[in-house]
Amino acid sequence: MSNKNRYFLKARIFDGFNILFILMVATVVLIKPSQNQLLDLKFNSSLALLFFLVGIFLSSVLSQKGFLTWGNLIFKSSSEKPPQPISWYKTLWGWQALIILTLSIVVGLVMTNFSFYEILNREGIDGALRLLTGIFNPDWSILPRAVNHMIETLFMAFIATVLAIPFAFVLSFFSARNVMESRVGFLVYLSLRTFFNIARSIEAIIWAIIFSVWVGIGPFAGMLALMIHSIASLAKQYSEMVESVSMGPVEGIKSTGAAPFQVVWFGIVPQIILPYISITIYRWDINVRMATIIGLVGGGGIGTLLIQYQGQAMWPQVGCLVVVIAVVVCLLDQVSAHIREAVK
């Protein structure tokens, strides 16, 4: 397909979706469908497809007649001459863009049940004030418990990071393109990268739910969840470091007759050790923050305490926990930034 055709096709698809959106909104407003009709996916998607085709047809006709649609404006090939500078309200694309953007905002507000009435509701405001008064008057008597659980969280994150390091370190070489040169190597590289992407796209909180069923609610489940997530994240970041090393020293070591392990150990590792440390400390920092959230679903630590007090509406106690979390996260953020700066 020539470049020009590709741009033309993209513009048509873009306009097609625009008109699909407008027609769908119009249909909903006009016939006010029932709940059952809204759930009829088969009929609705056929309707959407019909509208899409209508849109593509309309957009083709219009652009054949020399009108500049929004799609044409966005996906123009660089060889085309730029449009004449005229005020936007005299152009088709201007109105098209205005309608689409306005419509999106209106639909979005309706979808999220946006309501000034609820925001200004007296009862609601009172409830929120009660909660905030509680939080802003922390109950310091539970501070020792909070600190103990915070320590649990810190170590949960620490052990998760430490246990993830050896796995991630070894796997990072097998998932670096410049190390896995052979055909078999490429397959290993590809499958590992896919595995990491899948493991990372499953949020740590989901892993925590899985492990809290597996090994029981508590810090162990939380630690395992963080570890799995850390292995995938660290291995991906590590392997990107491996891929960015300069290949000169690698070739130099190879030329001495060194075996593959020696080439990696002497040619690549010295080049990546500092970025590795920096990435790992940052991962610990992230893990402490994630460990708090993971506690909410039974991963142990301060998050579990938080969800207990919250469930019983004990707001002054929640306030105390919030302060402890905020202080620790801030401190750790500073410390890790300083260390990372120092090892650069």
Partner: protein, 256 residues
Amino acid sequence: MSETILSIKNLSKTYDNGTQALADISFDVKKGEFLVVIGLSGSGKSTLLRCLNRLLDPTSGQIFFHGKNIENTKGRAVFSVRKKIGMIFQQFNLVPRYSVLTNVLTGKLAGMGVLKSFFSLFSVEDKSQALDYLKLVGIHEKAYLRADQLSGGQQQRVAIARALAQKPEVLLADEPVASLDPATCHVVMDYLRKVNQELGITIICNLHFLSLVREYATRVIALKDGKLVFEGSPDQITEDWFQKIYGEGAREIHVQ
């Protein structure tokens, strides 16, 4: 000047992207020679050297090292070929964060066990040898500095010491002075000659400047578009040959 140490027969190399870098090259290398390979950039000089120590796999042809074909060796045997045919590079290819001494010691890696290399357990003998080689290239005072603190010429001398630590029989030099200034050029070339004459190591060296070729080479081969177009002694490169190798209208640049 008697025994043939390397014999290259009908060597060809085509890269995966379809570029043919070497086309049917045959020549012999005698023990103790200082053989210089000349030719334009892209004529296949670097590819040729990398095929000789099997950093690259040739597409076809044979390479006989002491009469034994090393073109089809596989696995560990390749490592021992590389150990016996050392190499230095245009960009020196030292490990920048390691000390000069450690860089030289990496020349001892071939055949060393996994555990020993994991903990960098080089023997006392290895270390004293490494220092000797540093002394040979006149840089032993910098042994404990980090390699990236050295100038280009000094780094190339460390690279020579690393290659010597392998106890090679042949030393390949891929544009060893192309990233150096003219003054340093001669220092490095003089050390290569010293290695060649005092240790009797055969040298195959890619060079750009004809004035250096005339000064150091005992024999010259020329590549053009991956083919061998000239083989002879340095003083046989006449103006005519020069035009043939480098193309019409090429002019010679002299390095003092």
